[in-house]
């Protein structure tokens, strides 16, 4: 068994060495693939707060991913077409500034998560899975029917949004932005999972009765976790939209919700680097097997099956053994 910290360092090394190699050898597509993995990992780090620590199986995190995507799409669309978003009661204009778009994406997804969480957390188990799915589907069909922003066709953004001092159209620079954000999100996740809040959230997953009996409000703890979770996934959505320079209802689809869960399960539920490993494996399979066949998901399914049957802690569980109870 390899020490989990060493394994995590190894993962960080991959995310530094591969893009560096691609940059030196002028392989921008590889950098784009790695960026895709980083953004997916970020989305899954978000879900890992709710699912991994809190045991809340949200099958509707695409709602937040899409919300972040559309926040970027709508702001940038108005900026590139020089039309205001609204004129009354006050003038609200679009923007091409990444930091502003991120803040808007985080705020809107957090609000959406607050609303969805407040309603969904009244249920548990399979009902929670279904109701979060239902909310995401509502967002999906809403985006399809909102023709002002492309409806089913989605929105194309011609030029990537800007970040002060950087040329975001240069793949390696955009990769670095995404990588730094992912690193920051992982840092936050580590802190949160060891904090008093994380301890209570984690205990509520194992025994709700216990947490209530010591006088803590499990519902409120879960709701806060759900909001944080949605906000991080929303930020990933904004980055994903910027990576593709395109937003469409697909970002709200249930397949996407499922994929975010799959990243976590492949990597290891509740493990700090679980989402990172899962997203990297997913993007690698998508790329290499996708070249062989359109039906590459069969192999993904096989992998998932093997991991669920034989390695309860995902790939990290197989390599590093059981999670230590605390650091």
């Amino acid at each position: 068994m390899i020490n989990e910290r060493h394994f995590n360092s190894f993962m960080i090394a991959i995310f530094i060495i591969v893009p560096a190699w691609a940059y030196i050898n002028d392989e921008p597509f590889t950098i784009t693939l790695m960026t895709r993995a980083v953004v997916f990992a970020l989305a899954a780090v978000g879900l890992n707060i709710a699912l991994g620590i809190g045991g809340l199986v949200s099958f509707g995190h695409a709602a937040f991913f899409g919300m972040g995507g559309y926040a970027m799409g709508i702001l940038a669309f108005h900026a590139q077409s020089f039309t205001p978003i609204i004129e009354t009661p006050f003038l609200l204009e679009g923007t091409k500034s990444m930091p502003i778009i991120w803040l808007v994406a985080i705020a809107l997804s957090a609000l959406l998560a607050l609303a969805i969480g407040a309603l969904s957390l009244r249920t548990s188990g399979v009902y929670f899975i279904m109701i979060t799915l239902a909310f995401a589907q509502m967002m999906y069909f809403f985006s399809i029917s909102w023709s002002a922003y492309g409806g089913e066709d989605g929105l194309s953004i011609y030029v990537r949004n800007g970040f002060p001092g950087l040329n975001t159209l240069d793949p390696i620079q955009f990769y670095l932005i995404a990588f730094v954000i992912l690193a920051f999100a992982l840092f936050l996740f580590a802190r949160i999972s060891n904090s008093p809040f994380g301890l209570a959230l984690n205990a509520a997953r194992q025994s709700e009765q216990r947490v209530e009996t010591v006088g803590l409000n499990t519902q409120r703890i879960r709701l806060v976790a759900f909001v944080m979770s949605g906000a991080v996934t929303g930020l990933a959505g904004a980055l994903f939209a910027d990576l593709n320079r395109f937003v469409s209802p697909t970002m709200f689809s249930w397949q996407l919700s499922g994929e975010i869960i799959v990243f976590i399960i492949i990597g290891g539920v509740g493990r700090l680097f679980g989402p990172v490993v899962g997203a990297l494996v997913f993007v690698a399979l998508e790329h290499f097997l996708g070249e062989l066949s359109d039906f590459w998901h069969i192999y993904l399914g096989l992998l998932l099956l093997i991991i669920v049957l034989f390695g309860k802690g995902g790939i990290i569980g197989l390599i590093c053994g059981r999670q230590r109870a605390h650091e």
Binding site: P196, V214, G215, L216, N217
Partner: protein
């Protein structure tokens, strides 16, 4: 009668035609252990659930420190000072012993909304958790996973968590259940010392423990209290012998 800490008044709870709790009035005084005994299905768990807030009585109410607490839920009753232990251990099994105790300390500190500080390095939480664990004799297994504890140790941990809350009364649901004689003896010693700190309402099956510990005993049969009294009074009560103790002899 200022000595009464916990009082139930006419608690009645029916599930369909089964009356699980029938006009139960009992009191718990400062400094005492009041045991509730009764055969299986006598309604002991229903009684506890009503006291701790899991079940709402059809009629009657619970008074705690002179206040009617019918309006409070489980969590609020815990905050008010009802320290409960469970018949089937309700613990965070994947976490360590220390983490479970820190969770208790966290509950009474009331400040869960800290997202950055490491809970295990918070000296205040840690001191209170370790102090409680020391009192129950678990201070040498702090880093053990709760799932690896023996049955008896889990019972001790339950009591330790209740201790971290500085409760004004303990409500213990069959703490001796499933313990061997050695574990039972140890826990009896522990509970014996607790009564001065906070009175204990002890729902228990283990007669040796009850007779060794209790200041007063109430006997619950088919949801009704058929007798309340000291150990000797209960031992010599004809109705109790017939309903309950006779079965064991």
């Amino acid at each position: 009668m200022n000595d009464i800490v916990l009082q139930t008044r006419g608690l009645t709870k029916a599930f369909g035609s089964l009356v699980a709790c029938d006009d139960v009035s009992l009191s718990l005084n400062r400094g005492e252990i009041h045991a509730v005994i009764g055969p299986n299905g006598a309604g002991k768990s229903t009684l506890i659930a009503q006291i701790c807030g899991g079940l709402k009585p059809d009629t009657g109410h619970v008074e705690f420190l002179g206040q009617n607490i019918e309006g409070l839920n489980t969590r609020q009753r815990a905050l008010a000072g009802l320290g409960r232990t469970f018949q089937v251990s309700a613990l965070a099994m994947e976490d360590t012993v220390l983490q479970n105790a820190i969770l208790g300390a966290l509950g009474s500190s009331g400040n869960t909304w800290r997202f950055f500080k490491n809970a295990m390095k918070d000296t205040d939480l840690r001191e209170r958790a370790e102090h409680a664990l020391k009192r129950v004799g678990l201070d040498d297994s702090l880093e053990m996973r709760t799932a690896e504890l023996s049955h008896g140790q889990r019972r001790q941990l339950e009591v330790a968590i209740a201790l971290t809350l500085n409760p004004k009364t303990f409500v213990m649901d069959e703490p001796m259940a499933g313990l061997g004689s050695e574990g039972s003896r140890k826990l009896t010693g522990l509970l014996d010392g607790l009564r001065e700190e906070a009175p204990i309402l002890l729902v228990e099956h283990d007669m040796d423990a009850v007779f060794a510990l209790a200041d007063r005993i109430s006997v619950l049969v088919y949801g009704k209290i058929i007798a309340t009294g000291t150990v000797d009074q209960i031992r010599n009560n004809a109705a109790v012998r017939e309903a309950y103790l006779g079965e064991e002899d």
